[in-house]
Symmetry: C2
Subunit: 224 residues, 2 copies
C-alpha cells in the first residue's frame, strides 16, 4: 500500500487533506508539529482524533518550540497580542511564524525518506490564506526542488497541496461530501475550550462555513 505523510495540525484544512489522501488510496502516517503555539493541547487532541478516524498506520509528534526562542510571531510569543482578524488587509499578520512551513516540510521529508513514503500532504491555501509567504504555490514548487536535489537518487517524494487553489467554502463542501470529521477539528489560535470566533483562523473558518451554507459543528464563545 502506498504511504503518505499527512501534516495534521488538527485544523479543518488538515482534516480534509487526510480525507483526500485516504480517498486516493494512501496509507496515512500522521505528523503533528508542536511549535509552542498557545492552543497546542487542543490541537494535539484534534490530531489524535483525526488519526484515529482515518486509521493512521503511524503517528509522530515533533516539537519545534525553538521557534518560540526565535520569536517573531504572536502565535508563539506570549508578549505579542493575537491580532483580531482583518480579512481585507494586505499586511502579513502578526501570527506569521517565520518560515514555519519550511521547518515542517523538512521534518516531513526526513520521515518520508526513511519510510519510503511517496507523498507529503499539506493543507496550505494560497487564495484564502492570511498572506503568509510560505503558503504560496511558488514556495511549494521551490521546496519540491529542494526535496528532489537534497534526498537520495532513489527517493521520490511529492508534496501534495490538494486544497491550495480552493476557497475555504469549497473545501468545506468537498470535505462534507467525503465525510471529513469537522467536529473533531480545531482551528482557533486563541482558546482551547470554545473557539474565540475573532482570530484570523476562526474568522476564515466561520466565513467559509457561512458561505458554504453548512453549520460549523464546533462550539464558539457565546453561541454555546
Amino acid at each position: 500500500m502506498k504511504k503518505a505523510i499527512v501534516l495534521i495540525s488538527g485544523g479543518m484544512d488538515s482534516a480534509v487533506c487526510a480525507g483526500l489522501a485516504k480517498e486516493q488510496g494512501y496509507e496515512i502516517f500522521g505528523l503533528h508539529i508542536n511549535y509552542g503555539q498557545r492552543t497546542e493541547k487542543r490541537e494535539l487532541k484534534a490530531f489524535n482524533d483525526i488519526c484515529d478516524y482515518y486509521n493512521a498506520k503511524d503517528r509522530l509528534v515533533v516539537d519545534i518550540s525553538h521557534l518560540v526562542a526565535i520569536g517573531g510571531s504572536s502565535l508563539t510569543d506570549k508578549n505579542m497580542l493575537v491580532s483580531k482578524a482583518n480579512l481585507e488587509s494586505k499586511e502579513i499578520p502578526s501570527s506569521y511564524v517565520p518560515f514555519r512551513n519550511a521547518n515542517i516540510l523538512a521534518i516531513a521529508t526526513s520521515w518520508a525518506e526513511v519510510i519510503s513514503a511517496k507523498a507529503i500532504f499539506i493543507g496550505a491555501m494560497e487564495e484564502d490564506s492570511s498572506g503568509y509567504p510560505d503558503c504560496r504555490k511558488v514556495f511549494f514548487q521551490a521546496f519540491q526542488e529542494t526535496i528532489n536535489t537534497g534526498t537520495k537518487p532513489e527517493t521520490q517524494i511529492n508534496i501534495e497541496t490538494p486544497i491550495i487553489d480552493i476557497s475555504k467554502k469549497d473545501i468545506i463542501i468537498k470535505g462534507s461530501k467525503i465525510g471529513v470529521p469537522f467536529h473533531l477539528s480545531w482551528s482557533c489560535y486563541q482558546n482551547e475550550e470554545e473557539a474565540c470566533g475573532e482570530c484570523d483562523s476562526c474568522a476564515l473558518r466561520l466565513r467559509g462555513f457561512s458561505q458554504a451554507n453548512i453549520e460549523d459543528p464546533i462550539k464558539y464563545v457565546g453561541n454555546g
Copy 2:
C-alpha cells in the same frame, strides 16, 4: 554592522566558515544543532569555544532530536554501526541523516528573518564530502529559492557556502592563513575524548591535514 548566522557544528569546516564570515565584516550569530548525535557534548563544547573565539553576538542551540525518532542514520541510531571510512566508495554512507541540511537551514532562516540577518554561512563541501545529497550546490541553490519565495518580501537572506568548491586540504591551508582555531574544533563521529581516526569524518580530516602538510592539533587514539 551586518549580521550573519553561522552554522557551527564544532567541526573544522564550520570553524573556517566562522573565520571567513568575520573576515567579511559580519557580526556572528552562532547556531548549533543537536540532532542526537553520539558526540553531541564534545561538539557543543567546540561550538562554544569557537563562538567565544570569534566574539559571537548571540548564540542559539537547537535540539532536533526528533531525527533520532525518525531514524535512518548511524549518527543518530545507536542500533546502527558507524561505518569505517571508505573514501573511494560511491555509496551514500550510513552516517547520512536524511535531509538534515534542509532541517538546519530552515531553522537558520527563521532566525535570520527575525533578526534581519543578511547571510547564513554553512560549511558544506560538495567535492570532498561523503556523497550526501544535501551537501551539493544544486541543493543549496534550490534552498535559496525556497528562502526567496517563503519569507517576507522585505527579507533578503543569502546562503553562503564559502568552502563548497574547495578541497579539505585547501580549506585547512586557507583556515591556517586567517588564524582559524583548529585546536578548538571537533570532527569525530565516534568518540568524545580522543578522535577515533577511523570514521568518515576523521578520515577526511586526517587526509586533509596530511595533504596540506600541516599538523592536526587535536588528539587521536593511539597517537597520544
